[in-house]
């Protein structure tokens, strides 16, 4: 397996594992409080819809000329990756709430209980919530599988990495019989943001006609570079005494002060 292929597999695995942890929390909440069979039907329907998307869009993307594909997909991946990285940096800096699976599970369970009595056969609430949860979390994975996979003409490898991540998360969830709160979800999201931004930078520049010094080996400099930049940005953006960017905050008296 080449370096870029390893990066592809690792990025897709991490991204898919993070999204699978979030989807598992929703499915567990509706399954345990309402109906397992309806929740699992919703999961199956969403997985089917996601597989159809990959099968329909994968060949269409890979049929594009490589430079067009790299420019288009590299640009999209970079825009998407910067969004992930920005949120991850803000979470690390304490400026955005971190994901807490136990809290999400408690909220979803309370909402499922409050949704009223369930009918004897199919519970539409469980089906819909599980379907929506898996579909929405899965769409991000499909995007990553398609962009990474199409760029290297390895949609199969990307899909396999995604499948492996889902299996790993489901196995852990079944073993734990609880939301996977101990998974370092926020760290994984940070890593995925770094990988998406790095590969988007690499492919976008290549698609625009630039040539990287060292070819594929340039990724060995880009990935640590983006990681260091993100860590430094999070450290600078951190609030209170560690903040390097002075902020004006309202005080009870209506005046402002610089912390």
């Amino acid at each position: 397996m080449s370096g870029p292929e390893l990066g592809l597999a690792l990025s897709v695995f991490l991204a898919c594992a993070v999204e699978a942890v979030e989807a598992l929390t929703i499915v567990l909440a509706v399954g345990t409080t309402r109906s397992w069979s309806s929740a699992m039907s919703g999961v199956g329907a969403a997985m089917f819809a996601l597989a159809v998307l990959v099968l329909a869009l994968g060949p269409a993307l890979t049929s594009l000329p490589i430079d067009v594909l790299r420019l288009l997909v590299g640009g999209l991946l970079l825009v998407f990756g910067l969004q992930w990285l920005r949120k991850a940096v803000l979470r690390r800096a304490g400026l955005k709430a971190k994901h807490d699976e136990l809290q999400t599970y408690a909220e979803q369970t309370a909402a499922a209980r409050a949704a009223g009595k369930r009918p004897a056969r199919v519970d539409a609430y469980s089906f819909t919530l599980a379907f929506k949860g898996v579909l929405l979390e899965g769409l991000e994975v499909v995007f990553i599988v398609l962009t990474f996979g199409a760029n290297q003409h390895r949609v199969g490898l990307a899909a396999a990495a995604a499948g492996l991540a889902v299996l790993a998360v489901v196995a852990l969830g079944v073993a734990a019989r609880a939301p996977l709160a101990s998974v370092p979800e926020n760290t994984m999201k940070f890593a995925v943001g770094v990988m998406l931004s790095s590969f988007g930078t690499f492919w976008g520049a290549e698609g625009a006609g630039a040539h990287w010094p060292g070819g594929d080996a340039a990724l060995l400099a880009i990935i640590p570079g983006v990681l260091l930049a993100a860590l430094a940005t999070a450290s600078i953006a951190a609030p209170d005494d560690r903040r390097a960017w002075p902020l004006r905050r309202p005080t009870p008296g209506g005046l402002t002060r610089r912390p």
Binding site: T201, A210, H211, P213, A229, T233, R248
Partner: protein, 74 residues
């Protein structure tokens, strides 16, 4: 598909890919265009994207940090 549905779909795609900072997306497009211009003129252009990504990340986080400070409860 009627106009309202098409608008909802486009808005969903926009939110999904671009998110809440459209300026970063514009910055990426501008950086890619500059790279293409330089590469087309035969000038080495690989350095444009790393610098652009670093600048866009810092700029975007800085703006979000200031916004978070203006609305501490948000």
């Amino acid at each position: 598909m009627n106009t309202a549905r098409a608008r909802t779909l486009l808005s969903g795609v926009w939110d999904f890919v671009v998110g809440d900072d459209w300026r970063a997306a514009v910055g990426v497009v501008a950086a890619l265009a500059l790279t293409a211009l330089l590469a087309g003129a035969g000038v080495s252009a690989w350095w444009v994207m790393p610098i652009a990504v670093l600048a866009l990340l810092v700029w975007s986080v800085r703006r979000a940090a200031r916004e978070a400070a203006r609305r501490p409860d948000a």
